[in-house]
């Protein structure tokens, strides 16, 4: 829509480039009263100030000071703030635990992102097809998302409890052997991914539902007149129309999953035998339990760089499309 408008009202070229700068058009109008222009400009800064101060204090400054810290042997106990060059980075690259925990984070991201996108899509499609009592479905799919990680972990710890938990007791009643939900190295990460999907799928579901409701009804009407069945409409209209939101959901989900910490820390503390310890818990252990802030910062920055590269690679094709 934007494209056709632009085509009609303005000739192709730079005509819009100037006036399109923020407030450009109104500036031209307000030019007659310069005093109120100044007022307006200053009030803008005022509105931005709280956010700018918070960002500066809690994001920009920590980012810079963390980077500096990663080049020192800073300890939580206050000792050692000498510059040690790239020693921490050298240690990080040769520390098998860094790579092992990084893999755990990636593995969790794979295990959680796929169902979090697919299940959310299926749930949204089902609700959108017009099940009776829409609000009940919407609420029950979204409600777990409102819980805190501590509550979710507490609940699932009781479900997964070895030997006397609800799941194992149910399995035993069915004559099936116990499963080491959070005590078996090969199973624990799946259990954590399962809990995470139940907990956070509601957000993606909501995004999909909103996108579904945004698909123009005429398209379906036209397709129906042309004799397209339900499947054909789903494959040829609904799914292509959801491509953009799927891209957004995948990126948001990847970033959220890479940040995994709470539910693992609370459920298994990284066990059994370190099989679920994500890289952020390793950073936490090194920095806050072992007091090596400098080294912990270096690992954080390695991880940060990896995510940054990944995000840029993911965003670049998206830019081109736009």
């Amino acid at each position: 829509m934007t494209v056709s408008n632009a085509g009609v009202t303005t000739p192709p070229g730079k005509a819009l480039a100037g006036p399109r700068t923020p407030d450009g058009r109104s500036a031209a109008r307000a030019g007659t009263t310069p005093r109120s222009l100044r007022e307006r400009d200053r009030s803008g800064y005022l509105f931005v100030a709280p956010f700018a101060i918070a960002t500066g204090l809690f994001l920009v400054w920590p980012t810079i000071s963390g980077l500096w810290m990663s080049f020192t042997n800073q300890s939580l106990t206050g000792t050692g703030s000498e510059f040690i060059g790239f020693d921490n980075y050298a240690e990080a690259f040769s520390d098998p635990q860094v790579w092992q925990t990084l893999w755990h984070t990636v593995w969790f991201t794979i295990l959680s992102t796929v169902p979090l996108v697919v299940v959310a899509l299926i749930m949204a499609l089902l609700v959108h097809t017009g099940l009776p009592g829409q609000w009940v479905w919407r609420m029950s799919f979204f409600a777990p998302y409102l819980l805190t990680s501590a509550v979710v972990s507490g609940l699932s710890a009781w479900l997964f409890q070895p030997d006397i938990g609800l799941l194992d007791t149910t399995l035993a009643a069915l004559g099936l052997g116990p499963v080491g939900w959070i005590t078996d190295e090969n199973v624990a990460m799946f259990s954590i991914a399962l809990v995470t999907v139940w907990w956070t799928v509601g957000f993606n579901f909501l995004l999909y539902l909103a996108a579904l409701q945004g698909i123009p009804a005429q398209q379906y009407e036209a397709a129906t007149i042309d004799g397209a069945g339900g499947w054909r409409r789903l494959i040829s209209i609904t799914l292509p129309q959801l491509r953009t939101i799927t891209g957004v959901i995948v990126v948001l989900q990847l970033l959220a999953s890479l940040k995994v910490f709470d539910q693992i820390y609370l459920l298994t503390k990284g066990g059994p035998n370190g099989s679920t310890r994500p890289i952020l818990e390793y950073v936490y252990d090194i920095g806050f339990t072992n007091y090596r802030l400098g080294y912990a910062s270096a690992i954080s920055y390695v991880f940060f760089a990896l995510i940054l590269v990944f995000t840029l690679v993911r965003l670049m094709p998206a830019r081109k499309e736009a």
Binding site: L76, P162, D163, T183, G271, D285
Partner: protein, 467 residues
């Protein structure tokens, strides 16, 4: 106060709005939306600021003429209530002191906070610390040593403590920790089951001889399992890395295990002795003597519902067990191997380093701590063995059952190995527990646990001491 201040600020904001209105009166003839927003913004900022300032003002004893002593502890639940009772008693006996006791959640984060507040220079006057963590704190200058003369003036001397505990509280020839208790890892028992399994002495208590030695212990476990129809011995090792470590280190010490943990050099353990320990534990976790794949909660649940005869746990679980089994028995850790040893730790008081020492506060702190030690009888009711021996020798303590039955554990207490990275709530205990879970679950041979532990120990030894 917060409320008043918060209300006052929008008042400060309104003059701004008023002046705006005046200057714009000619053109718009009234209060614009922007003015309202701006006023609201200024007001909100003021409220936030007012709130912060009010929040900063800590309740102060200033004015009442009392010296304020702040103590951090890590006691929640029943322990916490008893500590409050003791603090209350000490405060009543010292009317010139206001004791401000703050309870923080126990675990690794407690020690993170303690290290940070100490390095910040304005820590509490005293804090509770596991004596096993001392090696990581004292060398870094985070703590101040106790003045033995000042303690002696208050009736607290070396002779009042068990040698094992007193020695562990030393660093570099100085006393850095004032032990409050010894809390060993012991074995609880259900007397009814013990008696039915034929493991009791004539007075109805568990006969330690009947569970001494690996074979006899396992036989006893099977006998109790027959009585309960489920398992004989309760031990939850899953998801409890600290519990795994306590069990291993106690048994390893019983098996004469020595160690060499020197930073920069490979760790040394007696591999044969350690492997024997795991062979014993694997034999125990066989589904009959002790349940396979069980965690602490499940084990406690089984023990409290009489589905298992004995239970390995810290003595601090006594109040919980006694609620379910009023006649619950407890003994020191059975002698599975030849050397007498019982894994333990000790809650102790330490003096975090003050950037601005205040002699009056220091003097008051000593009086409060000495007072708390002497309230040890209250503390003992939670199950802990008071470190201050005059309390243990009181007839009242000797009447506490089952406390008196496991009190000998303090005399054979073994603590965590001496190294900066060991101790209660440390990453070290987590890593050690992790290293042995596969072996305990029967998924790896006994030797694997030892190999994994050694490689984890090497990793710690190769890291610099951050303190």
């Amino acid at each position: 106060m917060t409320v008043l201040r918060g209300r006052g600020v929008p008042g400060q904001g309104s003059p701004v709005a008023a002046s705006r209105t005046r200057s714009w009166a000619g053109s718009s003839g009234g209060l614009s939306r922007r003015d309202l927003l701006r006023a609201a913004l200024v007001g909100a900022g003021g409220v936030a600021l007012g709130g912060t300032l009010a929040g900063c003002a800590t309740p102060s004893a200033a004015g009442s003429g009392k010296t304020e002593v702040m103590i951090w502890d890590l006691f929640s639940g029943g322990d916490g209530a008893l500590m409050q009772e003791m603090v209350g008693a000490v405060a009543a006996a010292n009317p010139d002191i206001a004791v401000d006791s703050t309870t923080l959640e126990w675990g690794a984060p407690y020690y993170t906070k303690l290290a940070m507040t100490s390095s910040g220079g304005r820590p509490p006057e005293a804090a509770v610390m596991h004596v096993s963590r001392l090696a990581g704190y004292a060398p870094g200058g985070l703590l101040e040593p106790f003045d033995l003369d000042a303690l002696a003036d208050l009736g607290v001397t070396e002779a009042d403590f068990a040698p094992a505990v007193w020695e562990k509280a030393q660093f570099d020839g100085q006393l850095y920790a004032l032990p409050l208790d010894t809390h060993p890892y012991i074995m609880f028992n259900n007397p009814a089951i013990v008696q039915e399994a034929g493991l009791a002495t004539p007075d109805g208590k568990l006969d330690l001889d009947a569970v001494a030695g690996a074979d006899r212990f396992l036989d006893a476990g099977r006998a109790m399992a027959e009585v309960t129809g489920e398992t004989g011995v309760g031990w939850g090792y899953q998801r409890d890395t600290a519990g795994c470590w306590r069990m291993f280190w106690g048994l390893y010490s019983q098996n004469g295990g020595g160690y060499e943990l020197t930073p920069g050099r490979p760790a040394e353990l007696d591999v044969e002795a350690a492997t024997e320990v795991f062979e014993f534990l694997q034999a125990m976790v066989d589904g009959t003597v002790a349940a396979k794949n069980q965690d602490g909660n499940a084990a406690s649940g089984r023990f409290m519902t009489a589905r298992t005869g004995t239970m390995f746990a810290g003595e601090w679980d006594l109040p919980m067990f006694r609620d379910a089994l009023p006649d619950v028995g407890a003994t020191q850790f059975p002698a599975i191997f030849d050397t007498p040893a019982n894994y333990a730790d000790s809650h102790s008081f330490v003096l975090p380093r003050q950037a601005y020492p205040d002699p009056a506060k220091r003097e008051a702190t000593y009086r409060v701590l000495a007072g708390l030690l002497k309230e040890g009888l209250t503390w003992a009711s939670a199950g802990h063995i008071p470190a201050y021996q005059p309390v243990v020798e009181e007839p009242a303590y000797q009447e506490l059952s089952p406390q008196r039955d496991y009190a000998p554990a303090a005399e054979i207490a073994v603590f965590d190995p001496d190294a900066w990275f060991t101790g209660g709530g440390s990453d070290f205990q987590t890593r050690m527990g992790d290293a042995m879970t596969d072996t305990l679950a029967g998924k790896a041979p006994a030797r694997t646990a030892v190999t994994r532990m050694l490689s984890e120990m090497d990793r710690f030894l190769s890291q610099p001491n951050p303190a």
